[in-house]
Amino acid sequence: MIKIENLSKVYSKEDNKVVALDNINLFIEQGSIFGIIGLSGAGKSSLIRCINRIEEPTTGNILISNVNVSNLSTKRLRNLRKNIGMIFQGFNLLSSKTVFDNIAFPLKLSKVPKTEISKRVNELLELVDLTDKANSYPSQLSGGQKQRVGIARALVSNPNVLLCDEATSALDPKTTKQILDLLKRINKTFGITIILITHEMDVVKEICTHVAILENGQILEAGNTIDVFSTPRQKATQDFVDQLRVLPTSLDKDRIFSLSFTHNSAGKPLISKIIREFEVDINILSGKIEWIQDKPIGKLIVQIKTDMSTLHLIQTFLKENNVKMEVLNYE
């Protein structure tokens, strides 16, 4: 369990001050895959780097399993870091060492006996499916293989937490999928809490159980991934989440609504029912089904030209059927 309380980070260079994090509060459950998403410069890296104090927080507390990271001595901080794995966008492997020695690196730092190192590293090579590359050097590997080495290295000392800063951003979509599947498997098998930073919505949808949306150093919204994506509470979250909102400008923009179907409602013939029961015309502007955490969320953007009271009835009807109806435009 990780608790972040009133965390702020201000970078100051001479008179120049940049507030990268502004009073962040987060609770991250043990065993979850927690995504932090935001645009470039939102403060994502600053946030994840404060967790293992690679970056010093300006104010606030970070508690990992009730240990306050913020005021640990240098020595205890180093020991704590041995229990927090981290993987990087640029992999950050030692180019002078083989795959085996890269994975063994954290154990050598802790002076683990040689035979034990060898046993553990071989286990991890198997886990990330790189046994045949044990004696290769990083320069001889593909991006995906390098990141698998990075993951093996991060896991070799049995950490409770895995921090991933844009772990897949340097990879192509197919390799990204492989790495995400690996992370998911690791999370399931070992119950490791994974905190994952990304600017790609698809990454969050693919594996995150929870998500926080970061903008200008503040959390816009945080919670269960499905809740946040299907029923965003904040306007800004909607803007961020709802890529379907981009409508052609030539369109008649009156009475446009967004309908979100969750797994309880998707699959029922609700639209045709509305057309029949309320005797209205529905113009479907766009639509798609998104899969979040292996569960479908249907998104429809529709135009319903009818009066206010009928619209209210429709909204009530949809709500009863677990569909959220939001007004996108009403002129």
């Binding site: 293992n52 690679i54 180093r78 020991n79 704590l80 870091r81 041995k82 927090i84 981290m86 990087f88 640029g90 992999f91 950050n92 492997l93 030692l94 180019s95 002078s96 060492k97 690196f105 954290p106 050598k108 730092l109 802790s110 050097y137 990083p138 320069s139 290295r153 921090l163």
Partner: protein, 216 residues
Amino acid sequence: MNDIIALIIPSAIETLYMVFISLAFTILLGLPLGITLVVTEKGHILPNRVINFILSYFINITRSLPFVILMVFIIPFTRFLVGTTIGTTAAIVPLVFAATPFFARIVESSINEVDWGVIEASIAMGASPLQIILKALIPEAMSSLVLGVTITIINILGYSAMAGVVGGGGLGDLAVRYGYHRFQTNLMLITVLILVILVQVIQSSGNKIAQAINKK
């Protein structure tokens, strides 16, 4: 011809002795110095403004003195250290004095070439500053350090010829004494040839070793 060989062999041994003993001390002193220069910089793993400032200035001052002047300048120190100011062993002191700051700057730039991400990853894994230096920085910079050592050897070889002239012995001294003062052009040419070959061999072995180590 036999006379020439009889002259050259002991001189060559003197040169090699001067160069490699000086090199050993230069590495011993210059490597920690160069690394300290890097890690005490602001934002690095052991920031310390005072140490960084003092070291940097000390190195700049020693590097700006011409070798001949430096040699004379540190005569009292040489006498204190080895008991004499002439001879091959005495020449080692100014050689180390001149080569160490040079090598330290080379080490500095080699260590600076190491990707910051690697350092950051080591910190994230809980490495101590000493572990970062020994297990990450030095291995990662090794290939570049070997090239630096190669250049330093050649540099010391050049200085050693100068040190020889003022009583250090070695090939440089031989060339000047016999070749220049006694007009034995043959001997001078052979000595120069040996020096040229020596430099070539050192440089190409250095390059080969560096290449073999480089896994980038």
